[in-house]
Amino acid sequence: MDYFILLTVSGIAIGVIYGLIGMGYALIFKATSVVNFAHGEIMMLISYMAFSIASSWTLPFWGLLLVCVFISAIVGLVIERVFIRPMLGQDVFSTVMVTIGLAVMIRAVVVLIWGADPLLLPTDIGDSGVEFGLVFLYTSQLYAIGLLAFCVLGMWVFLRFSRMGVAMRATAARETTALLMGINVTHVYAIAWAIAAVIAGISGVLLGTIYGLGPDLWTQGLRAFPAVILGGLDSVFGAAISGILIGVLENLSEGYIGQGLKEISGFLVILVVLMIRPYGLFGTPEIERV
C-alpha cells in the first residue's frame, strides 16, 4: 500500500506538468483547430531564456516566473504573427506542418545559443521540500501542483466571464459565424497563442527547476501528448485532469508491470481510449453533415 501511495503521489507530481503542457496544446487547438507541435519547443526556449535571466540577475522563484510569463507572452505573439498568421485561410494540416518546421528551428536555435550540455536552472527554492508522512515532495513540485490549479481556475474564469474568453469560445464553436458577429478572429488567435505560450513558459520554468535543462527538454512536449488526446484535443480542463491521470498511470505501470513501460503506457492507453471514444474523454464529438 505504501508503495502504491508513493507511486501515485510522484505520478501526480509528474502529471501536473503534463496537465500544464496539455492545457497549452488544448487551448490552441480549441481556438484555432491546429495542434501546435512546437509547444514543447516553445517551452524549452522559454526555460532556457529563464536560465539566462536567472544567471544574470538573482531573482526569487516567483519573480523569475513573473518575468518569464511576460517574456513568453511576447514569444507567443511573435510566433503567431510571423509563422501562423500568414497561414490563415490555408489548410489546417499546412499550419500544423508549419509548427513542425518551427519546432525543428527552435530546437536548432536553442542548441546554437545555449549549447548541448545540460544546465541547471538556478532558483532560490533549490532542493528544499516537505515531507508528508512517507512521501517527500520538492517545493518546486508543490508549486507545480499549485500553479496547475491556478491556471485551471484562471482559464475557467477567463473563458467563462471575460469578453475575450467568450469571443474565444465563439471562435472555437464556429469561426465564420464569430467573424460575422464582429469578433476579431485574428485577435482571438493571437491571444490564444500568447496564453498558450505563457502556460508553456510556466511549465518550462517548473521543468527546468525540477529536472534541469537539456537539449531534449522538448520531448516532454511529446510525452504530454497522451494527456491531451485522452482529455480530448479541444478540452482545456480535460487536458489538465488527464495529465494527472496519465502521470499516475505511467508511474503505476512502471512500478507494477515492467521496466520501461513508463514511456509508452500513455500512448497505449490513448490507443484503447480512442477506439471507444474517438474524441477523447472530454472532447466535443464532431457532428458532420454533408
Binding site: 518546421g101 546554437l112 484535443l233
Partner: protein, 345 residues
Amino acid sequence: MRTGVFEESYSELISLYRNPTQTYWTVALVLAALVAPLLLTNHLTSLVNGMMIAAVGVIGLNLLTGTTGLISFGQAGFLAVGGYTAAVLSADYGMPLWLCLPASGLMAAAFGLIVGIPSLRLKGLYLAITTMAFTIIITHIILSAESITHGSSGISTPKPAIFGVELATDKSFYYLILAILTLAILGSANIKRSRIGRAFLAIREQDIAARVMGVPVARYKLYAFVVSSFYVGVAGALMAYHIRFVNVDSFSLVISIEAVSMIIVGGLGSTAGAVIGVVFVLGLAEVLNYVIGSMGGTLGSVSVLELKGFIYGLTIVLFLRFEPEGLMGIYREYKNRWVNWPFRY
C-alpha cells in the same frame, strides 16, 4: 496550335501516359537512370541509392496521406518493422534477399492492418497522433524483444545478394533498387488510375459523401494502410541492406516528420511529387553538408548539425507559406505558362 491535352474517352482519361511526349520522356528518364551509375562517383551512387530507397517509402506514404488523406506519422514505425524483419531474417536465419524483401513488406502490411483497424474512427490530427504513438510503441517493442531483435545493440545485415550473385558494391545494388523503385512507381500510378485509387480520392475529399456513393470507406481505408505500409516495409528492408546495419536510432520519429515534409515539398497526392520531394529534401541536406564542409573547420560539429536542422525547418515553413502545392505545383504552373505562351491561359 496545341492548346492542351484533352481526354475524349474514359480509356484516355485513365491511361498511364497522357500523350506520346510523356512516353518519350519516360523512356529517356529510364535510359538515363540505367546509365547514371557508370558516370557517378561511388559516394554519389550511395547517395542516389539512399534517395531511391526513401522514394519507395515516401511513395507509399503518399498513397496514404496524399491520396487517401489519412495523415500518418507512422512512417518510422513501418520502416522499423520492415528493416528489422529483413535484418532478422537475413542475419539470423540466412534467408535470401528475394525472400526478405516481400517478407518485410508483408510484415509491415500486417502491422498496417493492426494500426489501421483502431484508426478507422479517427480523423485528421487524432489519427496523426495515434500513428505517432504507434511509432513510439514499436520502438519500445523492438528494444524490449531482445531475444529476436538484439535490443539496443542492433543487427548487422549481410551483403545483399540476389540468386547467388553478390551485390557487393553500391553500383550493383543501384540496379536492384532502381528495379524496385520502378515497380513502386508503376504500382502507385496504377493504383491511382484504377477503381481503388478513385475510391481513395473520394475518401480524401469527403468520406461521408464517398460512403453515400457506395464506396466501402472502412475497407478502402484499410487498403490504403496495408498498401502504404507494404511499400514502407520494403523501403525499410532496402534501408537495412543499404546501411548494412539496423538500430532503433535510425527509425526515430524525426524520420516520420521528414517523410511527411517530403510529400509536402513535392506536392501532396502526386507520385512524381513524392519522388521530387525526396530528391529535394535529401539533396538539400547533402548540399548543406558540402557548403558547410567547404567553409572549413570554423564551425563545431554540433553547430553544423543544428544549422542543418534550422535550414531544414525553415525550408518546410517557407514552402508551406509560399508554395503549398509543392514543387509539382511550381512545375505545373511553369508548364502551363510555357504551353500557353503568349496567352495567359
